[in-house]
Every structure is written in C-alpha cells, then in structure tokens.
Symmetry: C2
Subunit: 457 residues, 2 copies
C-alpha cells in the first residue's frame, strides 16, 4: 500500500499524447446551437473551455460556428463574435456545414420544426427540450431512426442526472414494473419549505420565485404539467410504448395547506409531488399528484430542488438516481455527454445503433381503477355522533379507517378539523364517498383528498 512518488503534473488532467497526435488532424465537427439563454451560453462556454479535453476524449474537436438567438441586438454577458449569431434558427438547422444541432431554445415551436428539419437534413440532434420530446418525441425518434441519425435527449428529464441512457441501456435487461420520481425541482423546493418552515403555498411560491427556482408564471410547475411531460418521456422509455402527456393524470400542489404537512408528519408521512408510472392490471397507471410517502421512503428524503428517479425492475429490484434536476451547469453536463457520444461515433466512423422507438400507443388505466390508501381532511361539526356519521358513509363505500386525527377544535364556531387515513380502497369508491360527504350535515367544509403510497412496502 505504499504510495507512488508524485510525478510533475496532476495526472487526471493528463491526456495520453498518442491520441491527440493522431486524431487532431481531422477537421473539427461543426455544431449549430439553437438557443443562447442560460443553458446555451453554458454549453458554448464549456465547449470552448474544455475544447482540448473533449477532443482528446471523443476523437475530434468541436466547433460552434453558428448560434440562433431570439434577439441579435440583446447584450450578453458572454461575448461572441456577432457574425456567429443569427435569428434564423431554421437556417442553422439545415446548414450543410453543420453535422450536429444542439437545441436548447425551449418551448414547442419553432423547436419542433427546427429539429425535424435538422433530422431530415441528415443531422444528428441533441435536445434538452422536455416539451418537444413529450409531445413529438415518438415521431421525431422514428424520423431519426429512418434517417439513420441520432436524436439524444438526456437533458430533457432530471437535468444532469443520468436517467435516459440508463433506461435505454443499463436497465435494459429488466422488465420495468414502476418508475417513481420527483422530477420538478420548483415544487419540491416549495413542499420542503412548507413542511420545514410552515409556509403557506403563497409564501413558498414567493420564496421560490425570489431564489429563481420558480418562474413569474409558475403554472406549468405547480399544476403538474412539467412533471407530466417528463413522466411521459420516462414511461415511454421504461415500458416501450408511446405515452403522451395527455395520458398522464395530474393534480398540482395548489390545494395544500400548512396543516396538511403537520398532520402528514404526525401520521408518519412526507408530502411530495410524485410522478408514477406503473404496470397495472388495467393498463399503464401514469399520474402526477401530491402524495404522502412514508418518511423512510427514499423519495421522501429528497429535499429542496433535487430530483430523484426510482426504477423498479424484475432483476434490479430498485435503483435510485438522484441529483440536481435543473440549472445551466447540470443541463450542460447532460447535453455535452450526448454531444460527445455523437462526436465519438462520427470520429470513429461507426454509425449509431439505437433501437427503434416503440410503435405501440400505451393503454392507460383509468385513475378510477386505482386502489390506494387515502388521506382525507375535512372541517366537521364538533358534536357527538359526527364520527359515527362519517364512519358510516365511509363503510357504505367499502372504505375502512386506518387512523384518525381530530385537531383544532374551534369552540366558538363549534367545528373541529379531522384528518383520516384509510386502508386500501378503490379510487372510485373514494370519489363516491367524497360526493356523499359533501351532503352530510356533519361536514362543514371538505378539505383535501391526497393519495398515500408505500411503493416498496
């Protein structure tokens, strides 16, 4: 175990000379960059700073001669030769001098049109765009397959966390039973803050906006749309069927109140916005909603803006991938990994060999067929017989109580707050109970219904 004597330079930065010598002769590979916001600038800067390192590792240097921006006149922190910038993204996508297009502009259009044009022009494409891949991914991947080029999208889910490639390759031997994920950092930050600091939804959102974790219009994050896009991408990969964003049942976090976090904690649960895709008897069960997780569940321990994706397979059991789910640097990590993969293929003269994308649309299980445990909160009259009335309505709908908390009695108003957890029950029965409870004299105000999940229990 005696250490070797140190050499003159730190060895991890070393590049064996044999490779740079032989391979630097080939001309650099031209990359067109679509989008020059935070991610685009980070990708550009990293490619410039690490040019030699990446050339040595992938076999060819990379150059970025053209960048599409929304507004050429806008001033930027990163100074770029103005001749490189253009506002004609489509012209870059079809430029014969470019071998690869990196799309980091975001949004549905013109991104889809540009990616389609690039693939049709025989270019490889790297995209970080979850909306594009969720909405048009299956068609674009089929187009890439037909044209024998690559369309890689590791950055579209989970930021820099490797999850697309592991699902495509490393977990390939498994039949996947479920994917369960925290894939929206904005809401996870808010839920963590609401639990820890007792913030209201509004206060948590304001704090997330102040820190730049939430956009001025946070709708797509807080209503679960963003997570539904990402889940559609993951489920399509995991189950080899096409899952569309509209297939994903979704509920957002706007209904949650500080007391739900208090009650959940007292019942042994943590509230998270969980994206689930699971095989079920009636089809694929794909949904995004606030979920009560047992506090020792690995996903319950994922705090703040982190993302985590758990994959359950017949061989692996359960594997968990965790890391920063957003931000320019992590996204750059994934974008450049995809890019280097393509460059290595071009440099070695070995064409891609991706599997063909699925051609079968998913069969989706209706959410009413779910059988889960539920958390129900309501404001009820504080008088004898109320619990009997509610218990009887629950029993009428085949729902049995697992635990009950009665809290915050208001002597003046004559009301009390109750939180109930149920044993496993059918979602349709739960819906029927809620409709019935709304008409009960005992119930002053229905609060919220949340699903409880103990995925590995």
């Amino acid at each position: 175990m005696s250490p070797r004597p140190p050499t003159s330079r730190p060895p991890w930065t070393a590049t064996p000379k044999r490779r740079t010598m032989t391979e630097s002769a080939a001309p650099p590979i031209g990359v067109g960059l679509l989008g020059f916001g935070g991610v685009g600038q980070s990708v550009y800067r990293t490619l410039a700073e690490q040019r030699d390192y990446y050339a040595a590792r992938s076999g060819r240097a990379i150059t970025v001669p053209r960048i599409a921006v929304r507004d050429r006149a806008r001033s930027r922190t990163l100074s770029v030769d103005p001749g490189v910038l253009t506002d004609d993204a489509l012209a870059i996508a079809t430029d014969p001098a470019l071998a690869v297009i990196v799309e980091v502009m975001g949004g549905v259009e013109p991104a889809i049109t540009c990616i389609r044009a690039a693939l049709e022009a025989g270019k490889h494409v790297v995209t970080a765009n979850k909306e594009v891949m969720a909405i048009a991914g299956p068609e674009l991947l089929e187009l890439a397959y037909q044209r024998n080029v690559e369309l890689l999208y590791e950055a579209s889910v989970g930021g820099g966390i490797p999850i697309i490639a592991p699902l495509q390759r490393d977990l390939h031997a498994n039949e996947v039973a479920a994917v369960q994920a925290i894939i929206n950092g904005t809401t996870n930050f808010m839920l963590t803050a609401m639990a820890r600091e007792g913030l209201t939804y509004e206060a948590a959102l304001a704090e997330a906006q102040r820190r730049g974790y939430a956009e001025p219009d946070p709708t797509n994050d807080v209503d679960g749309t963003d997570a539904a896009y990402k889940l559609a991408i993951l489920a399509t990969l995991a189950f080899h069927v096409t899952v569309r964003p509209d297939d994903v049942y979704r509920e957002g976090i706007t209904q949650l109140t500080p007391k739900d976090f208090t009650y959940a904690r007292r019942l042994g649960y943590i509230v998270r916005l969980v994206a689930t895709a699971r095989r079920a008897a009636g089809g694929l069960d794909v949904r995004v909603h606030p979920t009560l997780l047992p506090e020792d569940d690995p996903l319950a321990k994922v705090d703040g803006v982190l993302n985590a994706i758990a994959v359950e397979g017949n061989l692996i059991g359960r594997a968990l991938f965790e890391g920063p789910g957003a931000g320019p640097a992590p996204t750059t990590s994934a974008v450049i990994a995809d890019l280097l993969d393509i460059v290595r293929g071009i440099a070695s003269g070995r064409r891609p060999r991706r599997p063909r994308p699925p051609s079968v649309e998913a069969c989706i299980q209706p959410v009413g067929s779910l059988r889960m445990q539920y958390y129900l909160r309501a404001l009820v009259r504080d008088r004898p017989g109320v619990l009997a009335e509610i218990g009887s309505a629950l029993a009428d709908n085949n729902i049995s109580i697992a635990s009950l908390l009665q809290m915050e009695a208001d002597a003046v108003a004559g009301t009390a707050e109750i939180a109930i957890t149920t044993h496993h029950a059918r979602e349709a029965d739960c819906d029927r109970f809620l409709a019935q409870a709304a008409r009960l004299d005992a119930v002053v105000e229905q609060g919220i219904r949340l699903r409880i999940e103990d995925p590995w229990g």
Copy 2:
C-alpha cells in the same frame, strides 16, 4: 386527460411485429458462460426466459451452448443438458463458435487467463469480476481496444446499479472532483445493525453470515479489500488514470465498538465504510476506511446491504446512484445489459467505439497529507488535570478540539471514557499526537481514531 380505451393485451409486453419478423432470420449469437454459481444460473435462466423479448430488443437471439463449471458431477437446482457443461473454461473462451464470453466465475485465476484468451481470440467479453478488473483491468481493456472487441464490466461494481456506463458516458462532460461510495454491502449491513441494535462487531458479523450477506471467511469484506478493488475500478474511470488496488489506503471495520456508534450519534454522525477518490493537491486521494458522516449526508442514509455511489463533477454538482449492490438478480441485470449492448452492436453490424483506456498511472497522495476532522476515543484517568494534559498534547500538534464528550466514568477503576472531535488537522499531526498520547500518564488506553467527512459541506 381522458384515458384511451384499453386494447386487448397489456401493451408493455408487446413487441412491434416488424422487428421480430425481419430480424429473427439471422442465426442466434453464441455465448459461452464461464461460471455456474448463483449469478451464472441466474443469467442462464433469465436469458432463456426472456429469449424472445431480448431478441426483439437487441436484434438477435442469444444462445448459450457451453457453460464452464468447476465440477460437472455436482447436482444443481437448474437442470441443464449435461452436454452443455464442461470443466474446461479455457476451451470455451477460445471456442470459435462463440462470439461472446460471459465470465461470472469469480476469483483471479483462471478468470484472467480465460478473459485474455477470449479477447485474443477476437471475442467480446462481459465480466462481473471486480478482482479481475481491479488487478488486470487496464491491461485487458488495452488488449480489447487493440483487438477491436468489447470488454464490459458494469456488474463489477455496485451490482445492478448503473455506474460504470454512466461514468464512461453520461458524466463524460464533467471533470470529476470526487467519487464517494458505499460499495460493500456486507459491512454496510453490519454497521447499520451495530448502530441500530447496539450489536458488537462479532454479533453483527454472525448475523450477516446467518443471512448469507457475509462469507464464512469475511476478511476481504471487513478489512476493506473488496471496497478497495471496486474503488480502484471507479477511480480509474472517473479520473482517466490507472489506479491499482494497492494505491488505495484502507482500514477495515474490525476495531469499531458499540460505544463508537453511540458517541457518533450523540455528536451528529453516522458511521459508514466509505470509499473515497478525490483530486487533491498532492495527487489522487484514494482510501477506504470507516468514516463519520453527518447524519443528513446522502450516504449516511444508505442502510443495510444497499450500495450507493456519489459522483461530484464540475458541471453536474453531485449525482447519486443507489441500489442493491450484490445478489444474483441485480448482478444479472448488469451482466445482461452489457451483453445486450454487445449483441445490438453485432446485430447492426456496427462495431464498438469505446474510448481507449488510460495509459497513465495515477499519482497517489500519501494519506499523511490528508487534512480532515478526526474522532478520537480513549480511556483516561478520571482525575483533575487530565483534559488539560490531553488538550496541551493536541495543541502541541496543531490540533484544536471541536467537541468533547466525557462518558462512562468507572469510579472503581478511576477511569473515564472520552470522545473528542477535532477541527481540521493534518493526518500526520494526528498520528504524532496519538504516538505522544500513548505515553501520557493520563491515557489508560487508546481507543480508536476515525476520520470525519463532510464531503459536500
């Protein structure tokens, strides 16, 4: 968000017909299996059970016509045509009818000889063998590169957890700053049991053996050798230099006592056997030893036989990969993922394009150059002035105290147990202090010195 009507069959099992039709015409790819213990039988059974599914996914069917066993006469739960079995592993490794060799026999020899022979015969190789890859990996990978065949080894570290491929590809854009891992399930199970149930080392080992988590001779697990092998493999990949098992400084868990877990917990720490590889000023810092981790550190939450690998890179920040680190089924997940990758390459006529393995040996930082916080436990005389004496010896060696617990005074013997945590100090200074403390009248018996790490703090 309305669900599609269900189709007649569960879609995730569906294979688009176009692929099986066109591709099943080619003959199956012959695989030679070396080793038929738990993993070998699991691989064989899974390949048989999932034959059509894997053929559809990878483009060619797989057949396993030859299996090397240690003893042909031994009875097995899995019934195999006796003609398939042989005790001549080398004959399989060089059989011209086989395109791929899967080595799951374990141990150094004859595994290395067989893998070398297979590579020299132009065969692709998949191995789950950490010893082989740690000891001879660099040479075998160079041989594979020269012969233009693949040598894949995802299963050699972390069982089924994808970590080799993510380091090779998905985190490729990063300069890795550190890898920190719990990669020995046996010791992690023991440490978890010692912390939770107050077991002694001996009792925890007996429990691990009873459950089949520890071997009858547990030396390689409990002294850190197994983790050092795996760390050498990970560090070689992460830092693009050759790290040998002997480069890894290592300490095992045999010195730990139940009270160390009690004291650590009171000080806010969890004890784990952590494998660390990190860039440092003096070279690569690579070591395996029991470590006190802050209780909110992600690795501190990894309980039981689970494994987890954290990778810190300049772009990604920190990514964590967690899952089952051993066992036939998870290992099969990784072995078959590698195998399907190779099969897909053969089926599509596209040769591998792995990067060349590093040709530079790592420069290793001597462990004496470490600067860490330390936990020191000792039995001291229970009399005035003792702490002053110890404090003065610490100060003489540039070590300052962060916290001190005095516990378990023994009035009869006139002794007390103390546990000290220090601020950051040089390891060499700490060594000098320990030598000096051994001669102090105040110190009755030196207990243990453990390192404290707050890797992301």
